[in-house]
């Protein structure tokens, strides 16, 4: 187990190093001058070469690229994650303030996806090709196909025009005001959760269909167990493994989807901060947020791998 963990940690570190190098390089070869956002159109047009040199030096962008990269790694090690080169806020502060909202949305979305996807998948599997199964499959495909930001916009508009309602426009943390906080996170979480729930429903349906044809399920039924016990105690645990695997992968969709969905709902979370930073060419914010998302994704997938042994005692990490 320890060896396995050490090996996974090394793989994770190499992956993250690769991500950091990629995002660092990509952001530096992208066209577009960040000084447009800093100085504005008029100021940029008046900027002299000497001004540019001075401003780039102030921002730390006149150093050779390897030095810039090492400085960034140093910032990460110090826990500061660098400074937004516009207003001087540290990315650490940005994450501390906005991270909880995005994390809530992500966790709630996962919960919604399981709460919706799993029962629908089980129901479909136990009544295959029935009307409920048909409806469930149609809905799954619909929610997979509908872009989250579009659904988000529809919900925002419907709430506004039918009820004159709009969610709070600034971040309210759960510990400050749970009710207002829920108003902010519920919409994006449901939209993201329904899309992921559709994948989980399809995956759990096919896994359950496979499992319920196995001998041990037939045996359980032959013993006279009630159907729900057959499902919950025998079929479901064996069908869960692929569903958990896909949940780890789906987290990537949640993280990616949150960027657009936060924008649609006007939630000032990390996803929205990332969009703004990309538009502003705020390189430091973009590279740190992308790395943070990569850390979360890699971390969750390691946890998913580790959970296999807990769910299936036959699996050994050796």
């Amino acid at each position: 187990m320890r060896k396995y963990l050490a090996r996974r940690a090394i793989y994770a570190a190499v992956t993250l190093l690769g991500v950091s190098l990629s995002i660092f390089a990509i952001l530096r070869v992208l066209p577009g001058d960040p000084l447009v956002a800093i100085l504005g159109v008029e100021g940029h047009a008046q900027m002299k070469p000497a001004d540019r040199e001075r401003i780039m030096a102030d921002l730390g962008f006149s150093d050779p690229l390897p030095i810039q990269y090492v400085h960034w790694l140093g910032d990460i090690a110090a826990g500061q994650l660098g400074k937004s080169f516009f207003r001087g806020d540290t990315v650490g502060e940005l994450i501390r303030h906005r991270g909880p909202i995005s994390a809530e949305i992500g966790v709630l979305a996962l919960i919604v996806s399981w709460l919706v996807g799993l029962p629908v998948g089980i129901l479909s599997a136990f009544k295959p090709n029935s009307m409920p199964d048909g409806i469930a499959r149609a809905l799954s495909v619909t929610f997979i196909a509908i872009p989250g930001f579009w659904l988000g916009m529809l919900i925002v508009l419907a709430l506004l025009f039918w009820f004159g309602y709009k969610t709070p426009i600034v971040i309210v943390h759960f510990w400050d005001n749970p009710w207002q906080n829920l108003q902010i996170v519920v919409g994006p979480a449901v939209v993201l959760g329904l899309a992921q729930g559709a994948y989980i429903a399809r995956m759990s349906r096919s896994c359950m269909l496979e499992v319920i044809g196995e001998d041990f399920v037939r045996t359980a039924r032959a013993k006279g167990l009630r159907e729900w016990l057959v499902v919950m105690r025998h079929a479901l645990p064996n069908a869960l493994l692929p569903v958990i695997t896909i949940s780890g992968v789906l987290l990537g969709f949640v993280l990616g989807g949150s960027v657009a969905v936060e924008q649609a709902f006007g939630v000032p979370g990390l996803g929205r901060a990332l969009v703004t930073a990309v538009i502003e060419r705020d390189i430091i914010v973009v590279q740190n947020l992308v790395l943070l998302y990569a850390v979360i994704f890699v971390g969750v997938n390691v946890l998913v791998d580790l959970s296999y042994a807990w769910l299936d005692p036959r699996i050994r990490y050796s």
């Binding site: 066209p31 577009g32 001058d33 960040p34 000084l35 447009v36 956002a37 800093i38 100085l39 504005g40 159109v41 008029e42 100021g43 940029h44 047009a45 008046q46 900027m47 002299k48 000497a50 001004d51 001075r54 401003i55 102030d58 516009f86 207003r87 001087g88 806020d89 940005l94 303030h97 916009m153 925002v156 508009l157 506004l160 004159g164 309602y165 709009k166 709070p168 426009i169 600034v170 971040i171 006007g266 000032p268 929205r272 901060a273 703004t276 538009i279 502003e280 060419r281």
Partner: protein
């Protein structure tokens, strides 16, 4: 309300200006030796009530905090309530120049010296007294920015020579060359030119980009700020202009211009005043009871540039004139009617008193509703220039903004249909657009540019000047540049007017850019907000302080 808002600047000036211009000029543009006969400083409405919180929605996620270095409402929107200027535009009409930190001023008869007399007893928010040294330090920086500091308004003060603090409450600006009074006073009254402490500038090596809260003398003081969310300010109890401000607290929410967030926040009552609403939300707001919806002119031209240095055909004035005439402007305005409000105009602000009046403009080729005669003339010009079969493969760089993307497609179709000019659209992010424009990597490029003043001399140098910072076409026209220089030096408005009209004609014949439209601003506010009616304002950068506003 909207009918009143449709009063344009020309009509407004005719009504108000002709009646009171003489008296105003006498009382507000002071002559040497004259003391201020009448203090026109902002006073509260007699009915004004104290107290309350104003929730204001405006684009306010600035890239930095240095108002002088900025050119965006993202700075001036949230920061200007904390600062004052030497003189200002009256919030009553957005036009008249009135005292601010300078209680009175004098202009030498030859126009080469401006003397400002500062109020006594004005304190910065950190308790320091305002003195002439602070004004001198502020304007030294604006007129001659240190290395690494770029201030878009610097060219307005190109003829300011020495700035002298004569005594602690008197500042003299000695000009190397006279400029029209309206131009110079407009420059001093610009909302961008806030007065900051000399010590603040010294402590930060003249660069305030990353200094979030530096002391001002304004009616509101910084309380807290959450980036891209809200900036909270409280009433300055020691404000020099007592009993202003009227409201106790300002909550300035970051809500991007023309965005659904801004519209929905206003329509749902989350904010009291919305600036830069999208047309759909604005029209809905206009129908709401208890809400006022206003429209006013913005200091922005929407245009596309033709790269004369790269493309030989576009260097020919006849080809550019043909492209200019091939534009169906009423249709272009209609194309974006749900995205941003626009109005037709030529090469000078269509609402400026010296530009071609709208009725006359709309009779000219290129601005008519029936575009057939203009297209006929355009085809003739293309033939005469040697391009009867049009042009192929023009690289059309489009800034990634909703209006430009909509227009680019329409313009592409108009050019193809009217002149057989084929272009390939290339949509790019804003910073890439300016890189490409500056490097000359385009044939056609669409965007918008702003001016600090409505005065034609400002745009003649910034937009059309030989080395103008926004002359992306690399356009030169020696007779025009000579005329623009004369206009800049001419102090008599009566003589300037025909010169400006002549300049317009020259620009029509040899276009440095192709004007599409002039932007307007949609604001809306709940009727509990009093003391603010922007219908005659010019732009969103001068009257932005909220000191006279009151709530019920």
């Amino acid at each position: 309300m909207t009918d009143r808002n449709n009063v344009n600047r020309r009509a407004f000036l005719k009504r108000v200006g002709t009646v009171g211009a003489g008296a105003m000029a006498a009382s507000r543009i002071h002559r040497p030796g004259e003391a201020s006969a009448q203090d026109a400083t902002v006073r509260p409405d007699p009915a004004a009530k104290r107290g309350g919180t104003l929730r204001y929605g405006v684009l306010s996620a600035a890239a930095h905090f240095d108002v002088h270095q900025s050119g965006t409402v993202a700075n001036i929107g949230p920061q200007s309530p904390m600062y004052d200027t030497l003189i200002r535009r009256s919030p009553r009409d957005g036009q008249t120049i009135i005292p601010d930190l300078a209680q009175r001023w004098e202009i030498a008869p030859d126009g080469k010296k401006y003397t400002f007399h500062l109020r006594k007893g004005v304190k910065f928010h950190d308790g320091a007294d305002l003195t002439a040294d602070d004004v001198k330090a502020t304007y030294d920086r604006i007129c001659r920015p240190p290395k690494g500091v770029v201030i878009p308004r610097t060219p307005l003060f190109a003829t300011v020579g020495d700035i002298v603090a004569v005594d602690p409450y008197t500042v003299e600006f000695r000009m190397t060359e006279a400029r029209p009074k309206a131009y110079m006073l407009g420059a001093f009254a610009s909302g961008w030119n806030i007065i900051v402490r000399k010590k603040t500038l010294d402590d930060n090596q003249g660069n305030l980009r990353q200094v979030m809260s530096y002391p001002g003398t304004g009616p509101f003081k910084h309380v807290s700020r959450q980036d891209k969310e809200v900036w909270i300010q409280e009433r300055n109890p020691n404000y020099w202009n007592k009993p202003l401000p009227n409201v106790d607290r300002l909550e300035i929410y970051h809500l991007p211009a023309f965005s659904p967030e801004l519209g929905s926040s206003f329509l749902s009552g989350k904010i009291d005043y919305a600036r830069l609403l999208d047309p759909v939300s604005w029209r809905r707001a206009k129908e709401m009871p208890g809400v006022t919806a206003g429209v006013f002119n913005q200091s922005v031209i929407q245009a596309f540039w033709t790269n004369m240095a790269k493309n030989k055909a576009l260097a020919d004035p006849r080809v550019r004139r043909a492209i200019h005439l091939a534009m169906d402007r009423p249709a272009l305005i209609d194309v974006v009617k749900d995205t941003a409000p626009m109005q037709i105009g030529g090469f000078v602000y269509p609402f400026h008193e010296m530009s071609t009046p709208r009725a006359e403009l709309e009779k000219k080729l290129g601005y008519q509703k029936d575009i057939k005669p203009a297209v006929q003339e355009a085809r003739r010009l293309m033939k005469e220039a040697g391009y009867p079969n049009g042009l192929k493969n023009l690289d059309f760089v489009v800034r990634d903004v909703a209006t430009f993307k909509l227009w680019a497609v329409a313009i592409q179709a108009m050019l193809k249909e009217h002149l057989n000019i084929e272009c390939n659209l290339r949509v790019v992010q804003v910073s890439v657009w300016f890189d490409e424009a500056a490097a000359g990597n385009f044939d056609l490029a669409i965007s918008a540019i702003v001016s600090s003043l409505m005065d034609p001399s400002d745009i003649f140098s910034a937009w059309y000047g030989k080395d103008g910072p926004q002359n992306y076409s690399r356009w030169t026209n020696a007779p025009f540049h000579d005329l623009a220089s004369q206009i800049e030096r001419e102090l008599d408005d009566n003589k300037r007017r025909p010169m400006v009209r002549k300049a317009e004609e020259m620009l029509e014949a040899d276009p440095p850019l192709i004007p599409i439209a002039y932007e307007q601003i949609y604001d809306a506010w709940y009727n509990k907000v009093h003391g603010q009616n922007p219908s005659t304002y010019f732009g969103i950068y001068d009257v932005v302080r909220w000191d006279q506003v009151w709530l019920t």
